[in-house]
Structure formats: structure tokens, C-alpha cells
Amino acid sequence: MLFTQNKPTEEVLESLGAESKIFLLACNGCAEVCETGGEKALSTIKAELEKAGKNLTGTALVDFLCNKVLVAARLAREMDKIEQAESILVLSCGVGVQAVAKVVDKVVHPAANTVSLGGLQGLWPADERCQACGDCALDYTGGICPITFCAKSLLNGPCGGAQDGKCEVDSEKDCGWQLIYERLEKIGRLENLKKFHKARDHSKMLPSRDLRETSFYDIETKT
């Protein structure tokens, strides 16, 4: 199971910025257990967004957001409402957010930080990867993880070593920052690259005491 923790509401609102039309998408798998996804989290965050004056174009709950096929099929029904939205706020782990970005050309914002991969890794059948850095940056990179897709886990743009779009470490692998650049250009968010990203807080990778005290965490790690 993947363990996630809600980002503070202020951080979510800051990341949404001036966007007012939002589509809300929640995972009903691991995130439901962690209470970062599922019905309950969906209605809590919905209320918070409405309080902040946001206009919700629609909401959806998907069993496993880490399964791209499932996500694509489920979202097909919601396309109208998604089209009307400026962005999608995703209540899931980092893999789920990446899967959503792969299937819809919209700005995605993670509502949670992934802090531990636990044992079993959701469904996770594809190539999206999450290292549970505990401080999800996917809103800033257009839904492509800079920690796992860049060989140096850089946060402030490409190292300059990419050759023909391939990483300096492995000419078979795409440069993560090239992908991020192309994605940001596509969704009209190149200005994200200008933001100075301060150094990672590695202590966020440690599951918090609260999380460690849940029985789910016990089941996952001690059995």
C-alpha cells in the first residue's frame, strides 16, 4: 500500500492560485485508507474549496487512480466537466496524479504527499514512478515526477547534459526535464519553470508519528 498524507489546505490553495474552475478527482484505493482520498476526503476538500470561492465543475471517484486504463475509461464519462475546468485537483498518491496527467491534457495538482510505499504498491501497472519524497512537486512539473524521471532528481530544471532529448546517464531514457518542458509548454504553464524550488526537505520522507500509529500502517509493515 502507498501511504499518503494531505498537503496543508493553504498549500493546495496556493498551488491552485487564481484558477477558479476545478475538477475534483479522488482515488478510492490506498488513498481512501489513508483518508487522503475516498468519499470522505472528497467531501471535506470540496467544502474547503467552495469556502475559498472555487467553482467545482464536477467530481469523480475512481477505484485505483494508478491504473491508467481505469482512469481513462472512467474520465471519458466526465469529459465535459473536465473540459470546463482549468485544472484537476487529484486526491491520490504521486502515481495516481501522474496517471491522470498522462490521460488528460490538463493542469494537475496533487492534494497529497506520498510518504511511504509500504509493501504492496497499489495496482501500478505502468511506467509512472514515485519515490515517496513526501513533498509532491507534480503541480509544478505538469504531472511528471522530477524525482524519479530525472537521474539526478533535479528540481530547478535540466542539467544541460541531455543529448537529443535523452538523459546523459542513459541514451535509451528520455530526459525527465525535457519531458517536463514539453508538457508545461503543452498545457501553457512554462512560467512554472521560472519558480525557484528550494532544496528538498528529506525529513518529509519519514512517515509521521500519526501515520505510523494507524492500524493500517501496522498491518502493512508488521505482518
Binding site: 533535479l154 519553470l193 532544496a199
Partner: protein, 291 residues
Amino acid sequence: MKLTERFKEGKFVITCEVGPPKGIEVEKIIDELEPLRSKIDAFNVTDLQSSVLRLGSLATCRLLKEKDFEPICQLTCRDRNRLSLQSDILSAAVLGIENLLCLTGDHPQLGDHPEAMPVFDLDSVQLLSAAKGLMNGKDMAGNDLEGQPPQFALGATVNPGAEPLEPQIIKMEKKIDAGAEFFQTQAVYEVDKFANFCEKVEHLKVPVMAGIVFLKSPGMARFMNANVAGVYVPDSIIDELTSAGKEKRVEKSLEISARLIRELKDLCQGIHIMALGWERHVAAVLEMAGL
């Protein structure tokens, strides 16, 4: 002396790269630098270049300082976390080093210890910002330093041949905001492309030093084209080298470099020479270029 002082004087600044030895025999590099004393403003000492284990940059810089050469200490994010990097920055100040070049660094996979842990706790922009913070008397955690803070001229790198160029320029702007006061570039062989880059960054008002790498053979040129990001040696230059034949090759190569320097000179504020073992030819090239 800080390199920034030289730019302020309006001087066309010339730096040269020094690769510390794989071992502790330092006499040879010092001997090779002696003839360059009056020609070169400062010497960049690499930090385990290409991720190959060598003598350290900090110790070599201090050695140069003792021999009255001006060092630029290169600092990469590959091997040290933020505690270690900040501590080395303080150490550099105590050792009399006044110029720091902050880089991301190559991945260990490219070097002779591919099994090593790639650290990259910071990236180049964050490293510049950390150095600037120390210069303002604060560490990255926000704690005050005791006494006088260290002072440096902070440099950074940019790859003017990268494609796409836009993310490179955006990152360059971030480096300037973080504290970079001068830039050194990857090797340049295409003057037009470099001119286009210069135009795009002119508004940033920061000195740029064009990178010069001596082409030792046509094979080396082709190797760079295939393997070095953002570097392209045009066919015309490769043909020139090939047709010079083996005996005249060195002469031809130096002539090509001198010509490039002459053509680049009016576009930028300095040049950075990476001689890769041909340090003995640097003086001749500069002379041919009229410097």
C-alpha cells in the same frame, strides 16, 4: 582577486581549466601553468571532472594560491550533501579562495566509480543560493554564522548549444537570481549559434565567457558531436583538421582555436579555455588570437 573585479575593469577575461592529477603528484600541473602566469586571469580547478576520482579541487586551489595563481574552485552537487557543501564553502574562504563555480556535476555513472551513490541533495541553483546565503551570514537552515561572513565571486555554467535553449536560459536567469555573477559556457564551435544565444541573454547583463576546447583530432571532434550535449563541431572544421594531415594537425588545431577566439571575442566578455592536456599550447593560441 575576485573575477568580478576583472570584469568591472572592463578587461576581456581569460580563464583556463586545471584538472588535478589522479594521485598526489602536483608538480607537473604547476610547471605547466608557469608560462601562462601573465596571460591567464584565473584557473578553474575541476571537482572530480567527469566523475573520475582525482585529487580535490579545494587542496589544488590552495596550492595554486600559494604559488600566486588565482584559482576558481569548482563545486559540484554530485558527492556532498548540503552540510558538507556549506562546510567546504567556508573552508574555501579560510584557504583564501575568492572565486567559486557552482555546478550540478556529472552523474557518477559516467565516471570510473559508477557504483557510487549519486548525492544531488542540492542542484546548481540551490547551491548558488546556499553560497549566497553564507555570504549574507546565514546557513541554509537559517542559523547565523559567527563573525565576518565569507565573500566570493560566484560563477555558474550554461550550455548555449542546448536544444531546446529556452529551459537553459530560464535556468540561467534563476542562477542569476540565486547569486551567479558570471557564466562559463560549454565548448563553442558554431559562432552564429553562439551569437544568437548572446542576443537572447544580453538583457541579463551578466558576463559570459565562451568555452574553448582544443580539438586534438578529427576523431575527437566526431566523438564530441556524438556524445557531448549541445556541442556541435561543423563539418568544415573537421575537414580542415583532416586535410592538414598528421604532421600539421597540431598547428592546424591551434589555428582553428585562435580563429574561433577572434570571432567570439566581440560577442562575449571573456573566454574559458579547456586545454585537456594541451596546456603547453595555450600561450601560443592566445598570441595567435591577438590576446
